[in-house]
Symmetry: C2
Subunit: 345 residues, 2 copies
């Protein structure tokens, strides 16, 4: 049977201060559609019967997650160990009650404007996983030369909603390379959304990360051992651990208005811009400035003569950072931790 697995355990530090340890980004209503996680769960719910959506999240975020989506069963990671272990955990759990489980796996912190389109692409990908035992990713038709994403390389131009072999996984490219990718028509954004039979994923882990495979099967059999067994596991992504080396990896090219809300710089693509190319949420007054992202949960933010700046007030903190350096929010988290100011993280 088909299952959806939503990966919600990320720390989301790059969206600080809106995203905090106890309330990370996937729980925050960033997109216009409301809470990102709830949106994702609802979307999958259109295709799957209730009770076949599972969320994998960090134990430290379980209570907050349960508050937002009380109807969805959770799998708790005792520690963050990246996506290979998290997906293994879910596959091992689900395969116990459903040996034929086919999983649609997706991160919680994404945004899709065309939800029926995604549901259709997932249907094609799930069918490929069921009928050919493929690992079937959703490949997003790129809309800009984005250097912050990984890409999937095809042998020829992408055909929407077709099942096409993946030639290669490509890491984040530089700008010139990204521009070449986009104009070629042979590269798709790797959105981290993919479908596969649970047993195939466990078999891949057994060959490529045997300790992880053994641990997640043991945890599924005896959840009380989770902390002890999970702690020593390698922290590695499913892309690096499995996908880049696996055979029979295909993709379903999709044009569904997808975007990652991976940093503040991605917000304009999700929320839109005003005539001066500013993206504003809350009471904001931007004079003589363009390309700014301003979000406030209360106080008025007023600026004169600043451009391409991210200004975010959320809770007890205010962030000011150039849009081009939005990834460096992590440096703030590190500095706060180093100074004993964890209460702000």
């Amino acid at each position: 049977m088909r299952h959806a697995v939503i990966l919600a355990g990320g720390s989301g530090t790059r969206l600080w201060p809106a995203s905090r340890r106890a309330r990370p980004k996937q729980l925050i209503a960033l997109a216009a559609g409301g809470d990102a996680l709830v949106t994702t769960a609802t979307r999958i719910g259109e295709q799957l019967a209730p009770g076949r959506v599972t969320i994998v999240t960090a134990a430290s975020q379980a209570a907050a997650t349960r508050e937002v989506v009380p109807q969805v069963p959770l799998i708790e990671e005792p520690f963050g160990r990246n996506t290979a272990a998290a997906i293994g955990l879910a596959a091992a759990r689900l395969v116990r009650s459903d040996p034929d489980a086919v999983l649609a796996i997706m991160p919680a912190d994404q945004h899709v404007t065309n939800q029926p389109g995604l549901v259709h692409a997932l249907d094609v990908a799930l069918t490929a996983a069921e009928t050919t035992d493929a690992i079937a990713t959703i490949g997003i038709a790129p809309t800009r030369a984005e250097t912050g994403f990984g890409y999937l390389e095809l042998a020829g131009p992408a055909v929407l909603d077709a099942v096409m072999p993946v030639v290669r996984f490509v890491e984040k490219p530089d700008l010139a390379t990204a521009e070449r990718y986009v104009s070629s028509g042979r590269y798709l954004w790797n959105a981290g959304i993919f479908c596969a039979r649970a047993e195939r994923l466990l078999a891949e882990l057994t060959s490529k990360l045997p300790a992880t495979a053994e641990a997640v099967r043991a945890i599924a059999a005896d959840p009380a051992t989770a902390a002890a067994r999970y702690e020593p596991l390698a922290s590695i992504s499913i892309d690096h651990a499995v996908m880049e080396k696996a055979l029979n990896v295909v993709t379903v090219p999709a044009s569904v208005g997808w975007d990652d809300i991976g940093s503040w710089a991605a917000l304009p693509a999700v929320r839109g811009e005003d005539d001066a190319h500013n993206t504003l949420a809350g009471d904001a007054l931007v004079l003589d400035g363009t390309g700014n992202i301003v979000m406030t949960d209360g106080p008025l933010v007023a600026t004169v003569g600043v451009s391409d700046l991210v200004i975010v007030k959320s809770g007890d903190a205010i962030l000011v950072i150039p849009k081009a350096r939005a990834q460096d929010v992590r440096a703030i988290i590190d500095a706060l931790n180093a100074r004993g100011l964890q209460r702000f993280t």
Copy 2:
């Protein structure tokens, strides 16, 4: 007898959002010494007997001012009409009970690190006013080529604490001119601090602004008529109306760590800078940036990779503006008023 008159009626919009209509900058503890107005009053009190310090303030700010300095008598301006009228109002009032009143007049929103030095210079200036009927300004020895201040030109190099004739008042110069002024030793900052007999000031007003002179004398005789008589008066500074055209204007050169807190850009001179040349007040974390001014009344402000920026959180508003454009805070006030958002001003 000697009296101090503190001019506290300014709107202080250039220090928004710390400075608001109902609580303008002179009431705000910007300088390390605490509330600027209280500091000024205390300083004068060291030289003058109690009861001989008077504050001139706007009627709209009277209640807030009284809260801060309940022991100091206020003269309320019904409307803001600049310094010529405000000083006339005080002179006309004080001369009624003390015909020989000699006034030390100073703005409330200034900062002096060497208070005994200022008190000494004021003593020299008051003596000059008493013995020679001069208008005796305090001329501040410049410490940088500031283009935001007016200057006093002398015939020769300034001698500290001497009484020297003023050749000319000079408006805000451009940078090259300001640099020439500072290196010449013949120019002093016009701090707006000066001493004169009240009757001399009223005589100057009678010859140069007769309507103002008549109105302030009539208001002193019958305060109930203040609103009607004050409203039509010309809004002009005492410098333009009187000082620039008067005879026997002298200055006492002083080196007293004076600075004007006229805009956020002046704050580093008053509060100092850290090793990275940032001026921080409140919880602030500035990574990879220099020359910033960050003030917050609560939330942590964290920045990465921004320089020469003013970031101020105060009450229900947050300001972000390049230091070089600090004067343009007025544009925010104008825009807020135009949009019906007076509640933030």
